[in-house]
Amino acid sequence: MQYQAVSATGYYYNCIPVTRHHYYPTVHAVDPLERIAKLVSQNAVVIFSLSTCCMCYAVKSLFSGMGVNPTVYELDEDPVRGREIERALVRLMGNSAVVPVVFIGGELVGSMDRVMGSHINGTLVPLLKKAGALWL
């Protein structure tokens, strides 16, 4: 499992002090949905999670048990951008209890129930293989 800071480098073209973001959010901030799209395209399996959430632990455990190595973004470990992403995910999912949210191959799979449903009906493993997260 790889944990990455949400603040991926390469977004900002000039070095701007962090404090300035508070005053000019619209000028320098990147749309969180775009950021999500960028993040999920970088890895085969991406999980947005909270370090304290037990259901997130369950979904991570599910993927580990299958031999998959997902990329996990803990939204509570990044105070500023985490909340933005969380809000964006709420809009995306249309639900308030949002994490864990799973993306496979850049596509949204959904929350825990969708992940388990797709595993039971046999669509999860082919999806993982297609994304290159699982080799037989």
């Binding site: 304290t52 037990c54 259901m55 632990y57 369950a58 979904v59 455990s61 599910l62 048990g65 299958m66 209890a97 825990m112 129930d113 388990m116 449903g117 595993h119 039971i120 009906n121 046999g122 999860l124 493993v125």
Partner: protein, 497 residues
């Protein structure tokens, strides 16, 4: 003894702060509460009232701490409290009483190992006897205070009986009695007042004991009325099937009660679907007709999962602890219901003949459900660990905050039960997809029959013949004796276990 034990438990429930260490005392009394004392206490109250309560006011105004007033069965620790109390309450004879009671500790130092004994210099024979004797003496003393000298010389038969008893162990009374004869020139008032003070003490204790007992009776009467109400409600709702099919707790939350009612109706529907499937298979219906029956069955299970989701919002503990199921089901419960992988395991054997593709499909279904179950179980374990930490590490200062955090964590339980039910539902749907209509019909019939048998097992277990138990009692007796005689061997076993 069963009723007595219940009586004991009732006492604890009535006095939540009360922590009687002297169960030995209670056992000494015998198998039933000593009504004789109470009658005498009531009579004593009458006498006290007749003589006016002005003598007693000093005692009443200095009501001791709650622990002392609820001291129905005064024990060794309580005696320490009595000393200051007695010195507060009595006036001139205060010092004398103080001395008398202070004398008792060393008297009792050799008696203590045998049994916890109430203060005030009671002897070591059975406490009820002591109390009756005390009360009799008090009655005597209060009724005829002017006859103290006669009594002191051992005139009345009651007190001679008492004094003969008291000769076994040093008692203030006996001392006084003998002492009065020898020290007649000493102020008799002191000793008399000391005795009167002790009488008052004992009388007050009896009164308090009576009040406590009456309170107990009232509360258990209310509880009984509530239980009867619940029972009637449950019977009218058909929740009690054959007396032991589904047990109803004393108090269900409304969400739990509603769910239980719906579940009973669902069980009736289940029977109906099962008989339809059986008839459909036996009568060799066309596939289309059978498909309707099978689809209805799947919808029937979707219904219970929907009901459980609603119930999980209002009372998740009712679901997750399996209080809605029979005991046999509850014993093997996983996250508030059946374990899908176990169901598949059971079905694979019984669903021959299957095509190879179907076999592969079933085995992969079994594996994926197993993986999902494992993930959910680990998630629940993580929740448990987190809760243990939250509850254990809450300091006194953050007490409230930690409880709030713990409450927040508990809300996650609903999510786990819902995910587990979702898993069950998806498993049934996948079965429906893998199997042909006929196979699905047979499969669902097998499932219904299996759970029907498991439920019936609980009923049979509850109503198994009692003669077998009676025959085993002697056996149990010997085994317990063996256990008592050989405790070290048990310790060895636990090391290996």
């Amino acid at each position: 003894m069963a009723s007595h034990h219940h009586h004991q438990q009732l006492q604890y429930s009535v006095f939540p702060g009360y922590n009687p260490p002297n169960t030995g005392y209670i056992n000494q009394e015998g198998s039933s509460y000593d009504f004789g004392e109470l009658e005498q206490a009531i009579a004593l109250q009458g006498y006290n009232k007749a003589h006016g309560d002005e003598n007693k006011l000093p005692l009443y105004t200095t009501v001791p701490r709650p622990a002392a007033t609820l001291d129905m069965f005064p024990s060794w620790p309580m005696r320490v409290h009595q000393t200051p109390r007695a010195s507060n309450s009595s006036t001139d004879s205060g010092s004398a009483v103080h001395v008398a009671i202070a004398n008792t500790p060393e008297m009792h130092s050799h008696i203590e190992p045998e049994s916890p004994i109430s203060g005030n210099g009671y002897s070591r024979k059975t406490s009820s006897e002591q109390h009756q004797q005390m009360l009799r003496q008090q009655l005597q003393h209060l009724h005829i205070p002017e006859q103290l000298e006669m009594e002191s010389e051992g005139g009345s038969p009651v007190t001679t009986g008492g004094s003969s008893h008291s000769q076994q162990t040093p008692k203030p009374f006996s001392e006084k009695r003998k002492g009065i004869g020898s020290t007649s020139e000493k102020p008799v008032d002191t000793k008399t007042q000391r005795r009167l003070a002790q009488n008052r003490e004992a009388a007050r204790k009896s009164r308090l004991r009576k009040k406590a007992y009456v309170q107990q009776l009232e509360s258990s009467r209310i509880k009984l009325a509530q239980l009867e109400q619940d029972l009637q409600r449950a019977r009218s709702q058909g929740l009690l099937v054959g007396g032991s099919g589904v047990s109803v707790g004393g108090s269900l939350s409304s969400g739990a009660a509603i769910f239980d009612m719906e579940y009973v109706r669902w069980l009736d529907n289940d029977q109906r679907h099962m008989s339809e499937l059986r008839k459909g298979l036996q009568s060799h219906l066309s596939d289309n007709d059978l498909r309707v029956i099978v689809d209805n069955f799947v919808a029937h299970y979707d219904e219970i999962f929907r009901l459980k989701a609603v119930a999980a919002k209002s009372d998740v503990f009712h679901l997750i602890t399996g209080m809605w199921t029979t005991p046999a089901e509850r014993c093997f419960l996983w996250m508030g219901g059946f374990r899908p992988s176990e169901l598949i395991k059971m079905l694979i054997i019984q669903l021959d003949p299957l095509t190879e593709q179907q076999v592969v499909g079933l085995y992969s279904l079994q594996q994926s459900s197993q993986q999902a179950e494992e993930a959910l179980s680990q998630g629940l374990d993580q929740l448990h660990q987190s809760m243990v930490e939250t509850i254990a590490l809450g300091s006194v200062n953050d007490g409230v905050h930690h409880m709030a955090v713990a409450l927040g964590k508990l809300t996650n339980l609903e999510g786990f039960v819902r995910q587990a039910d979702n898993l069950r539902q998806q498993t049934l749907h996948q079965l429906h997809r893998i199997l042909t209509v006929r196979q699905a019909a047979k499969c669902f019939l097998v499932i219904s029959e299996y759970y029907g048998r498991l439920r019936a097992l609980s009923t049979l277990w509850a109503s198994r013949p009692r003669e077998a138990l009676i025959g085993d009692e002697d056996l149990c007796q010997t085994t317990t004796d063996l256990q008592m005689v050989q405790p070290p061997s048990q310790i060895h076993f636990s090391n290996f276990g």
